[in-house]
Symmetry: C2
Subunit: 156 residues, 2 copies
């Protein structure tokens, strides 16, 4: 493991770097301006109307301090709106707008194309195995980051 190229950490950084570049290129080619992080948040809000920011952060494993800026930018683009919660005045309910929904639908082919492109060096079986192994490694180390995934978040 002395060689950098054999270290999982180094490869993780590099693969993520490529994944982001491919995503941005495909999305821009489709005529949109949305980052991977913004896309994930938008999709999660669409699937969970009136979700609050903390629960959203748990769903997509974002740090709670990061989500504030991401939502700011989505709101600035008119794709989501923040609404005060009646139940708890501390929390904000997030809703996707009509334009957000249109954007999400229109952008999906580019997102899927990006997913294929970033593993274009692998066979179909290899790509599936890579996904399986990453999921397994992530599941075992989930609690080691400040922003763990919270699967059951929707049932709160």
């Amino acid at each position: 493991m002395t060689e950098m190229q054999d270290m999982p950490g180094h490869l993780a950084r590099r693969f993520q770097q490529i994944a982001v570049a491919v995503f941005l290129a495909e999305v821009e080619a489709a005529g949109f301006d949305l980052t991977p992080v913004q896309y994930a948040a938008l999709a999660a809000i669409a699937a969970n109307p009136a979700i609050d920011q903390i629960t959203l952060a748990g769903l997509i494993a974002y740090d709670r301090t990061t989500i504030t800026g991401v939502i700011d930018r989505l709101a600035q683009k008119g794709l989501v709106v923040r609404r005060a919660s009646a139940r708890d005045r501390r929390s904000r309910e997030l809703l996707i707008t009509d334009e957000g929904r249109r954007t999400l639908e229109a952008i999906t082919p580019a997102v899927e194309a990006a997913q294929r492109l970033m593993v274009r060096g692998l066979s179909g079986a290899e790509a599936k195995e890579l996904v399986r192994l990453m999921r397994k490694a992530i599941a075992a180390a989930n609690e080691l980051s400040r922003a763990p995934l919270r699967e059951g978040a929707a049932e709160r």
Copy 2:
């Protein structure tokens, strides 16, 4: 692939997030304050004395504008020095200091421990396969990012 959890891009981000958290925790527990990025740069400078910043960037696949700040911080910590090149007055030669070398040696066990910890959910064979698949996917998409790896950089 409709599910976020099956998208290579999402998993790449999550795995990298965990890799960084594990690295920082192990390194801090060992009594050091160095980021994964700073470690990779320090190790590359140690192995390639008097390397210039662009070549270094190619070796570890960093963007050229990112490397400036990373070297700033390594220099500020006294681990490396910048020296004007006699051959080309535009470029800076990077050298590791004695303290840099001591730090690199002392920190290595923590770095290796972190590499094992971030794949602790996988068997040995699975971890090896994950590394192989990431390397293969990265190799095929190397040129898609702004900061591609430049293997032959040392022979320039």
